[in-house]
């Protein structure tokens, strides 16, 4: 009896304090509320229903109902499009049929989450070392270009082709990561500006690559690459016939998670990384070669981003085009927000990736069924991260107690760092 009251009160304390999970949960709710407000203020039907209260003396209840219907429909299709559609599940459970259709949303979310986990792990390792790698998207694109080249131009048995394709993607990311790493280590150029500029360089290179002879689809004038050989594609686990796209890439992501955990928590190099991130001066004083760390962290972070790029191409489209990962929804940019939400820890990143993948996939289904643009998902994602980046704000709004673990942590410290 007293044990259970104790447990209850400890549970209550846990959820009313600023533990990272509570903050993340509240941030998500606030993000969804912001998204709802945006829908309300940009949907003519809703706005008209409120105007009608004064215009034609319609009942305010009608306006509330129309608002709730529209916002509800948007979020419902977000949920059913990314996780599960309850009636479909019920149908499958009772009749034993239609499992493929029922599982499609969750399969899509996992498909989207797979490269996101890999890229975010790279960004997270960089953050833990005090490095802000905004170049993950460019590195992923270069990885995609390199991997798609190997995947489409070489022909060999699957058992060699897949590893080689993935390695090419990794190498592409390593090359794109080496530039800011070397520049930071040897000239001190701030990685934020260099990586942002490199993103644009890589985007231009992408258009150049998919419009030039070796990589462009033969007989095409458009910015589209050759198809990757089936032997280089990451096949769907449940077979092509099932329509479920979740691929063997998920095992690559799992391996990356294990690697990141081992690297950060168990390896001595990972320890040096974290010391450098926590206190660069102390790291130098203890004999850590900060220059080598700067280069290495970018090689690892870039390599993972590049791997994410090729996993994305090899498991979904099997080609790349001029719009590959471009825009605010590019996995390299989402990876930054995912790493921040997951507090740069491997398991945190896995959960955050799944959440943001669900938002992204759900956003697409929302766009298809209600016409509300997919960008809403990105807005919600960035709002969630803004709230997570300012835990004190969330704490103040909800008058939460401060738990000892919640401290303001800075990843970067301006130009002079």
């Amino acid at each position: 009896m007293s044990d259970s009251t104790n447990r209850l009160s400890s549970l209550r304390r846990r959820f009313s304090s600023t533990s990272p999970i509570t903050i993340a949960f509240i941030a998500l709710i606030l993000g969804l509320v912001l998204g709802a407000l945006i829908i309300i203020f940009t949907t003519p039907v809703i706005l008209n229903s409120w105007r009608d209260i004064f215009h034609s003396w319609s009942s305010p209840w009608r306006a509330v109902k129309i608002t709730a219907d529209n916002v509800g429909a948007a979020y419902r299709s977000m949920f059913t499009g990314s996780i599960i559609d309850p009636p479909g599940l019920w149908h499958s459970l009772t009749t034993g049929k239609g499992w493929d259709a029922t599982l499609t949303p969750i399969s899509e979310t996992l498909t989207y989450a797979t490269p996101l986990i890999i890229a975010s792990m790279g960004v997270g390792i960089a953050f833990q070392t005090g490095i802000f790698n905004i170049g993950a998207n460019g590195q992923a694109v270069l990885g995609g270009i390199a991997g798609a080249t190997v995947g489409s131009m070489l022909h060999m048995p699957t058992i060699i082709h897949i590893p080689l394709t993935l390695l090419a993607g990794l190498a592409g990311g390593v090359i794109a990561g080496a530039i800011p790493g070397l520049l930071k280590a040897y000239t001190g150029a701030h990685e934020v500006i260099v990586t942002i500029m490199l993103n644009y360089v890589v985007y231009a290179f992408l258009l150049f690559a998919v419009l030039s002879t070796p990589l462009q689809q033969p007989g095409q004038q458009n910015d589209i690459s050759r198809m990757m050989d089936p032997s280089s594609q990451l096949a769907p686990i449940f077979g092509v016939a099932s329509g479920l796209r979740v691929s063997y890439g998920i095992f690559v992501a799992a391996a990356v998670v294990v690697f990141a955990w081992w690297f950060l928590d168990r390896s001595s190099l990972g320890f040096d990384f974290r010391v450098t991130g926590a206190n660069p001066t102390a790291a130098r004083a203890s004999g850590i070669n900060s220059r080598a760390i700067m280069v290495l962290v970018f090689l690892i972070s870039g390599g993972l981003a590049g791997l994410a790029g090729i996993v994305q191409a090899a498991s979904t489209t099997h080609f790349i085009d001029g719009g590959f990962l471009i825009g605010n929804a590019g996995i390299g940019f989402t990876a930054i927000t995912v790493a921040l939400l997951g507090r740069n820890r491997p398991m945190g990143i896995v959960w955050a990736s799944l959440l943001f993948a669900a938002l992204g996939v759900g956003g697409r289904s929302m766009q298809a069924s209600t016409g509300i643009p997919l960008d809403l998902a990105t807005i919600i994602q960035s709002a969630v991260v803004l709230f997570v980046a300012t835990p004190v704000l969330v704490k103040e709004i909800f008058r939460l107690r401060t738990s000892p673990t919640a401290t303001v942590q800075l990843a970067t410290k301006g130009w002079n760092s």
Binding site: I38, T42, T43, F132, I134, I179, L183, T187, G188, A189, H190, V192, I193, V194, I196, M197, L198, N199, Y200, V201, A204, F205, L207, F208, L211, S212, P280, T281, R284, S290, R291, M294, G327, N328, A329, F333, I336, T337, L340, I372, P373, D375, L376, T378, I379, S382, A383, L386, A389, T390, V392, L393, V408, L410, A411, T412, G414, W415, N416, S417
Partner: protein, 435 residues
């Protein structure tokens, strides 16, 4: 900017200056390399009979009562002279390792390179359909990009001099351009558009200031997330509002306001005195920000807060208030910059600022956190952005996409070469909390 924090600056400063010397020589070597390339490809690589034309008349001839004749030069010789100049500058840097203005010399070499490139592309006989460069048109086109960059880097100067890194300039550009096109299309007044841009930029600045000053969030992270958020929000609204109602996004360009008489001076007139109102406003703003920061009591407070907030607080300056004011004003300036961009480029499209906000940030660093320096840097970057977008009209045998990389590569080169030579305000990016 070196890998030296305040705590360890003293013991390693000698090491740093040695490293800086080695880097100076490396920059000199790069300058010589570019010079040699220019000499070999753009001068010796063309037939000695080839010649290039140069014209100075504005496109709108009614503004030019004095017609300047075309100047025809022998491509090989003029480019050889340019190449020798570039190599001479590089040799000087390698031999003397000057302590100051190395990157300004680098900038001069970059401009000379672009000039030689222009002479080379318009040569006849050659592949280009155009045999004459219109220097005035090139300067006008570049000045439009430079103007936007100057707005952005002035915004950066305002914020960073007070100790807050405003990496959200790109977002303020996007917000300004969005609101600007909406107001310009509906009210037909660019004054309202500029005011709207200032308001939205200022609000974004306020949000950045609020999160980073009150809640001590990481300024760079908040800035980057804000850019993502504004980028997707504008893309969302573009689909929701501008697609069904194109009358809100007509993309009218701001009219040129020619100043009587002086706008008729050859070359200088059309470039400086026959521009849109935004251009003149930008010129006034450069002077105003310079004056405010370096000649007024308030500017002294701002700089004190940016260098040593605790000392500033000790003498009674309200650190947080100064930072709030500057970040909001800086955001407003960048917002107007976004409107100016829209007013010179036309209809709003998601992502059409293509990283100009970040280039403006680099221009601010290149300009050593000073308005005058930011102007020089923005002109260089503006020229490279404009040419990389417009060289295709001359049938250059290089892919458009490779040319498009040029301004970004220049930015990386400049930012890498500068480090150790420029110093950010000491408290830049470091949250301040009263104790």
């Amino acid at each position: 900017m070196e890998l030296v924090s305040i705590a360890s600056a003293t013991p390693t400063s000698i090491e740093v200056s040695v490293a800086a010397n080695g880097r100076t020589r490396a920059i000199g070597a790069i300058m010589i390399g570019i010079g040699l390339f220019t000499g070999l490809v753009f001068a010796l690589g063309v037939s000695s009979a080839a010649h290039s034309g140069l014209t100075f008349n504005p496109v709108n001839l009614s503004n030019a009562p004095w017609h300047l004749g075309n100047l025809t030069v022998v491509t090989r010789w003029v480019n050889l002279v340019i190449a020798v100049l570039m190599i001479a500058l590089g040799v000087e840097v390698v031999l003397r390792s000057p302590r100051r203005a190395v990157m300004v010399r680098f900038g001069v070499v970059a401009v000379l390179f672009l000039l030689a490139l222009l002479f080379w592309v318009v040569r006849t006989p050659g592949p280009s359909p155009v045999s004459v460069i219109n220097l005035t048109a090139v300067l006008i086109g570049s000045s439009e990009v430079a103007m936007v960059l100057i707005f952005g880097s002035l915004s950066g100067v305002m914020c960073e001099r007070s100790g807050v890194v405003n990496i959200a300039i790109e977002g303020q550009f996007i917000g300004g351009a969005f609101v600007g096109t909406m107001l310009a299309s509906t009210t037909h007044s660019f004054i309202f558009a500029a005011l709207g841009g200032a308001v939205i930029g200022g609000l974004l600045g306020l949000l950045l200031a609020f999160l980073s000053l009150r809640y001590l969030s990481d300024q760079i992270i908040v800035g980057v997330v804000l850019v993502t958020m504004i980028g997707s929000f504008s893309s969302y609204l573009n689909l929701q509002v501008f697609t069904p109602f194109p009358q809100f996004n007509t993309g009218t360009l701001a009219p040129n306001l020619a100043i009587p008489l002086i706008s008729k001076i050859p070359i200088i007139g059309p470039v400086f005195f026959d521009q849109s109102g935004f251009f003149y406003f930008m010129l006034i703003l450069v002077g105003a920000v310079s004056f405010a920061l370096f000649k007024t009591r308030y500017g002294l407070h701002v700089r004190a807060v940016g260098e040593h907030p605790r000392a500033a607080a000790t003498v009674g300056i309200n650190v947080i208030r100064v930072r709030y004011i500057n970040v909001v004003l800086g955001g407003a300036i960048a917002g107007v910059g976004g409107v100016a961009f829209m007013a010179s480029q036309g209809q709003f499209q998601p992502g059409y600022t293509s990283g100009l906000g970040y280039i403006a940030l680099a221009a601010m660093i290149f300009g050593r956190w000073r308005p005058s320096g930011a102007v020089v840097a923005s002109v260089l970057f503006g020229l490279s952005v404009y040419l990389s977008q417009n060289l295709q009209t001359y049938n250059v045998p290089v892919s458009t996409y490779i040319l498009n990389m040029f301004p970004y590569v220049i930015t990386i080169a400049v930012v890498s070469g500068l480090i150790g030579r420029v110093r950010a305000p000491a408290a830049d990016g470091i949250p301040y909390h009263r104790e």
